[in-house]
Symmetry: C2
Subunit: 485 residues, 2 copies
Amino acid sequence: MGNENLTLLTDFYELTMMQGYYKNNSNDTVIFDVFYRNNPSGSGYAICAGLEQVIEYIKSIHFSKEDIAYLRSLNMFDEDFLNYLTDFKFTGDIHGVPEGTVVFPMEPLLKVIAPIMEAQLIETAVLNIINHQSLIATKASRVCYAAKGEPVMEFGLRRAQGPDAGTYGARAAVIGGCNGTSNVLAAKKFDVPALGTHAHSWIMSFDDEITAFREYAALYPNNATLLVDTYDTLRSGVPNAIKVFTELRDAGNMPKRYGIRLDSGDLAYLSKKARKMLDAAGFKEASIVASSDLDEYLIDSLKTQGAAINSWGVGTNLITSKDCPAFGGVYKLAAIKKDGKFIPKIKLSENPWKITNPGNKTVYRIYDKETGKIKADLISMADEKYSEDNPLKLFDPLATWKKTYLKAGTYTLREILKPIFKDGKCIYKSPSVMEIREYCLKEQDTLWDETRRLVNPHDVYVDLSNELYQLKNQLLDNININNLN
Amino acid sequence: MGNENLTLLTDFYELTMMQGYYKNNSNDTVIFDVFYRNNPSGSGYAICAGLEQVIEYIKSIHFSKEDIAYLRSLNMFDEDFLNYLTDFKFTGDIHGVPEGTVVFPMEPLLKVIAPIMEAQLIETAVLNIINHQSLIATKASRVCYAAKGEPVMEFGLRRAQGPDAGTYGARAAVIGGCNGTSNVLAAKKFDVPALGTHAHSWIMSFDDEITAFREYAALYPNNATLLVDTYDTLRSGVPNAIKVFTELRDAGNMPKRYGIRLDSGDLAYLSKKARKMLDAAGFKEASIVASSDLDEYLIDSLKTQGAAINSWGVGTNLITSKDCPAFGGVYKLAAIKKDGKFIPKIKLSENPWKITNPGNKTVYRIYDKETGKIKADLISMADEKYSEDNPLKLFDPLATWKKTYLKAGTYTLREILKPIFKDGKCIYKSPSVMEIREYCLKEQDTLWDETRRLVNPHDVYVDLSNELYQLKNQLLDNININNLN
């Protein structure tokens, strides 16, 4: 998506609605919230990502002459509206959760306050970017959790859903905890480590395996990680690798980093056998990298089996978030400004938890003061004020009898939505990807282990303030009276 | 991916291997095959797509000064190699299966014949593009099959894995049978229909639903498809839509196309009820569009239940191929040229069907002459000649006792791999996306119904010629002798 004009990366109905607002002279300022309803992959949390690309997209919105000519050719749009588009730019405010923050269902990740025509145009691209990167960052966080601090390399470019999915997916994977990527374009673009050594084709291009190993080790004396499964891992690959390491040691040329990579077969069995063979030959420092259709569950299982793997290359299952390839972020109207005042709006559903939260809101994160762990999140109206010096009463918005009282001094508060755009101007500077990665590691430390575990995690409470809860119920009552036949 | 330089869209190990070949002066010409081992989503076939983007990518490969500077900064590459990259371009041959062709496991979709350094560099991007678009085209073909010829609209941009996944995914979805997309950028780029009307936010931005409907219908007299589920489908949405249609009819302004869209709830029940209400009011021509987490199985089930839906908007499940979000295309070395002659190469595996097919190959498709349906595909050596005037003996490469004899005159033959690049020059002109869609519809007609069905389809045989089969077994025997300790 680098240099391409993404202004038309929008659903067609955004444009037909925009023309509708244009013709009705109804360009009221509105509030749209981006939020999601379920954590992906059965996770207890998600990692928010993509804000930097949202900022780039918003900054560069403009309808080119070519775009206008295309829209004209559809015979759906009038000249006065097309004229309006020619000068289009985003003039609104955006608040957002910084990338790498842990987030939970129902809370706004992004809040757009803008004239409705502008807010509507950007809906689709904003969702596309946030949904994709948050999905992959969350998956990476789970995979890295399973690897218990051992390095995880993102290796999925060839199976990613197109070039952007590979490149922005690699970005999100590093945010979520990966220590680098095989994708050179992503490594360059985001200044993250480029990783990898050689493929089976390298081995096959030589007359025999040992020559291929010898040549590779001679070429890259800093990192001789040899792929041992081209012909037969234990009968050919590992013995040949040991021969080459022995030659290097005897010649006084031991590489700084060296080891083997397993890319097929029974990784538990092969890694333990290979470890013994390497150790017996005196190569206790040799790393064993595994990379064969891994995901968080397989890594967890390999750990349980005592596999002797200390570095993980994860491809398809991470870059596509295979068990859950979509993050369900939505973009819902929360308020419309009439006569200088925001009128809250609500979207009904037959499922109570699918009903949207109305009005101009913000999100407070509440931490246990002693442990620094998250106690709950609180969605409140934007103008409500909270102070750590007061006690705080929380209640479950669907089961209101479930209450929690927090004494003053036992908790800390942090507003997680930050100002990103003000009057169309970006007032936020994105950190580097490696800085976001560091921040994200700290963020994950604020989760209880019960929320991080891979299966059946404990849900973090996302409560509504009393004011928001009352407003929501009032609107629901009114809709029943006014709108139904 | 439009204007961006994708030369670095490659795995890091491609570059480390390239430098290895460079330093060893071993830039032999090689053959790599792109093929896959399993149809996605339990399908009986796949639809090949992405060739046009592969061509664009290959044509535009060049290392910019910035790319070279980045690679230099990694302290892994020597100046002589970086110098070589400065002048890099692809000089080889590529044969490929035209987009929209139905394809089966194990057969080459693309064959790259080029100096190994060039063939290696392009591996990752070629796989990325072919894997993504073939995945989505295949999924779209299944969804459209379930819809039994009724229009299917691609609506998934907001849930796609990044901008490219949305845009090239839309392209592939149209190739697979969708009649258009909501993605305006994709519609413009590939000259396919842009589709859509309005969202819930349009309804919510007015004081009441009927005003929103009235305004929309007045604005777009050619297509008044009204979204009826914002408040209550049967008590509010459908009655209000009928009121507006009645007003338009009374005023003599009946829209050319009109109808309702259901986006939530029980689609079988709601569509049947809505159909009755519309019919009773005299709106038998009103279409009923459904769009709520649909996939091929849900559409099939709705058809079985007699749902009164005649147009389908499919989002997340199509644009991510949710039940199977990766197409497993691989890129395997098949031969190396030494002294002017291709030496066939093979990659072992513990699973017999994962062993690669060696040598310079091509693919013949064999049709039943009477029905025009596919009987089998035959992978042969590129220089083998077949004639429809001779009888043809086929056998299963894993169970060689399974044989089929085709009499002369009962079958027709077609070589499906076509020349795409010759000596680095593109000699193929991609058809338009709508032309590919037409071709793909015809291609799908060559499949037996048993192969098209959604669950437990009949597999199409992909056989090996006797010459290829013998070569493969000979190489397997030699490897056992030469490479293992």
